[in-house]
């Protein structure tokens, strides 16, 4: 009896297994389904990075560019310099990018612990001409090279004073076209034209009521032996900024024959909310050389133009003068340049960096001409920064940067008492995790 029952049970199990096997999808069906799901997932890419660092300044309470000013009684700090998450959806001819920035509260700068949008744009490549695309939204400005270079890939920990003052936040809201000649026109295909209209206020809302025109044209090529890659380009910026005061200051000569800011109040109240010119010209060049000693990169950029600022700052205005009392507009002719040398040593994970950065916010005045009585101040001081650094790529995700900025400014004895002649040298030791 027991044997018969076991046999029946075994038969039942076999029957159920066979039935189940007939219901199960084939390997080919499962593979096709999986491939379909993977092809959708492959369109989405998530990346991000975090930069945590220690900094030490030669001056307590130093007003530095690298990471913002130190607190009044401090010359060293740990800080979360940047935390960014980026999502990209690549639909072939279309693409959408979203990147947000998480910043540390900085009472000196007045920023709260905040999440800011960095990139938020859509790009459409024309199906009828694949070398023409339209990008709309929050994106890099098509000007120069450095401000379009990701902070995570930058050899130095910070961008130059040029970008920090003239292009704060590195992004702007607008629409841009990108155009290249067809691939068949080999040499012309190396030329790229980018041009667009932008708000001009960085990641803030448009406050001027005007749109700024920004464009660049560059030639980029690699030698046949794949040893040298080079790029050379020119950029142009033409915009307008709202003045929020009855006075607009421009460079002139005072009654003592000294250089001074002279107020234009002739128009009286009609100066309020008058648009003033913001115009830049730039040239840039980069060369990468694959050589027996490693990979060497040389970069240089020069920008000059007219920059509307305020009494104490040459930084581009990104607040609404109608709701924020920023004071009178100070018109300055500026120039700036930098030279970067970065060399990855042979097959080692080390890279040496040297950068020389010069920012002259007011080219018409220098040294002992910067007298506060003549309307000059911090916004007119030129800076020269020599940075030396060593990068260690521990893994493909983790990079350590040790960098020392040596800053000199042209503040003369006349303004030393005002605390302008600070020693602004800063040492930065940073760990970056990128995925």
């Amino acid at each position: 009896m027991k044997k018969f029952t076991l046999l029946q049970f075994a038969f039942l199990v076999l029957l159920c297994t066979n039935l189940h096997a007939q219901d199960a999808p084939s390997v080919e069906d499962r593979l096709a389904k999986t491939e379909g799901e993977i092809s959708i997932l492959k369109k989405v890419k998530i990346s991000g990075y975090l930069q945590a660092q220690y900094q030490h300044s030669d001056t307590v309470g130093a007003g530095v560019v690298a990471g913002g000013s130190f607190a009044a009684n401090s010359n060293q700090r740990f800080m979360l310099r940047r935390g960014r998450i980026k999502a990209t959806y690549d639909g072939g001819l279309t693409q959408m990018v979203f990147e947000m920035d998480i910043i540390e509260p900085n009472p000196v700068l007045g920023t709260a612990n905040a999440i800011n949008i960095r990139d938020f744009y859509a790009k459409v490549t024309m199906p009828f001409y694949k070398d023409l695309s339209l990008t709309t939204g929050m994106q890099y400005r098509p000007f120069g090279f450095e401000q379009q270079y990701s902070s995570s890939m930058n050899e130095a920990p910070e961008l130059t004073r040029l970008v920090n003052n003239v292009f704060p936040n590195e992004r702007d809201l607008g629409a841009m076209i990108t155009l290249k000649a067809p691939k068949e026109m080999e040499l012309l295909h190396c030329i790229t034209l980018k041009a667009g209209l932008f708000n001009g206020q960085g990641i803030a809302k448009n406050t001027s009521g005007n749109l700024d025109f920004i464009s660049q044209l560059y030639f980029e090529r690699t030698t046949k032996n794949e040893k040298i890659s080079y790029r050379i380009g020119g950029s142009y910026y033409n915009g307008l900024v709202l003045n929020g005061d009855k006075s607009i200051y421009s460079m002139g000569t005072n009654s003592k024959g000294q250089k001074a800011f002279i107020a234009d109040t002739a128009d009286g109240s009609s100066n309020i909310y008058k648009s003033v010119t913001r115009q830049y010209y730039g040239v840039d060049g980069q060369i990468t050389i694959d050589n027996p000693a490693g990979l060497t990169v040389l970069r240089a950029e020069y920008v000059a133009g007219t920059q509307p600022g305020t009494a104490g700052s040459s930084r581009s205005l990104d607040v609404d003068p109608k709701t924020n009392a920023v004071g009178a507009t100070y018109m300055r002719d500026f120039s700036a340049y930098y030279l970067t040398f970065a060399h990855k040593i042979a097959k080692t994970p080390f890279q040496v960096v040297v950068r020389y950065d010069v920012y002259t916010p007011n080219t018409k005045v220098t040294g002992n001409e910067i007298i506060s009585a003549n309307g000059f101040g911090k916004g007119d001081i030129a800076y020269k920064t020599l940075g030396l650094g060593l990068n260690y790529f521990m893994t493909s995700n983790v990079k350590f940067i040790a960098y020392y900025d040596m800053v000199t400014n042209d503040a003369d004895v006349l303004i030393k008492g005002a605390g302008y002649a600070q020693k602004l040298n800063v040492f930065t030791l940073r760990m970056q995790y990128k995925f």
Binding site: E186, T222, E226, I228, S229, L295, A346, P349, S396
Partner: protein, 271 residues
Amino acid sequence: MKRIFIAIALVVSVMNSGMAQKIKGSDTVLPLAQKEAEVFMKHNAGKKVTVTGGGSGVGIAALIDKTTEIGMSSRPMKLSEKMKVNESGGSSIETIIAKDALAVIVNPSNKVSQLTREQLEGIYTSKITNWKEVGGDDMPIVLYGRESSSGTYDFFKEHVLANKNYSSKMLNMPATGAIVQSVSQTKGAIGYVGLAYIETTVKAVKVSYNKGKTFVEPSVVTAKNKTYPIVRPLFFYYLTSSSKAVKPLVDFILSPEGQKIVSDEGYIDLK
């Protein structure tokens, strides 16, 4: 008890597949890499090597993304690719494992049996569109080539077409085998493939690089004695961080036994 053993066996097999060395990339190198891997694994029980194709560009991209230990390529790594490796802090190592003669093939019924480089350039840029223009029958030329991710595509463009762009009429095939099949089935077809892929179903033409003074057929002998002009190195690329792990396999391929496999498979050894 049986279930425990089966579970352990499953876990071990999954772990082993995860630890397998991966080689990915060039379709030209694929048959050679597969054979080398097979023999290497016979000599090294416990070591597993998986080999997949996709094209030189795909292999190098996988190396940059670190989804493969070795990227096999039939063209040198581009500077833009080296920069991407550099950006993640790595460095790539290039090793030539063999050489390959690139053959131009036509359908066996095609009476054309030799072409100059200039004629090949004219054909692949569609300046020459009919076989009668190069001494053949009155028959349109059907162009077959590889996709842009292929190192063979890049090499042929640079060395045979003198960097002129391919005709838009060229049919881009995803794999070398697909070119061989298409040319064997299409009377007016022409294609280019590595020497190791040539079968009796297609005919390799003789090529002249001196404007027709001498024509040389592709073979291991003519490639080795440098009379055949379209010969290229085949590469393994790997990162310095993986060099210790891949060294046994690379050393095996460069050894006399590994180089004999190169010759046996129809490639040109480095001796």
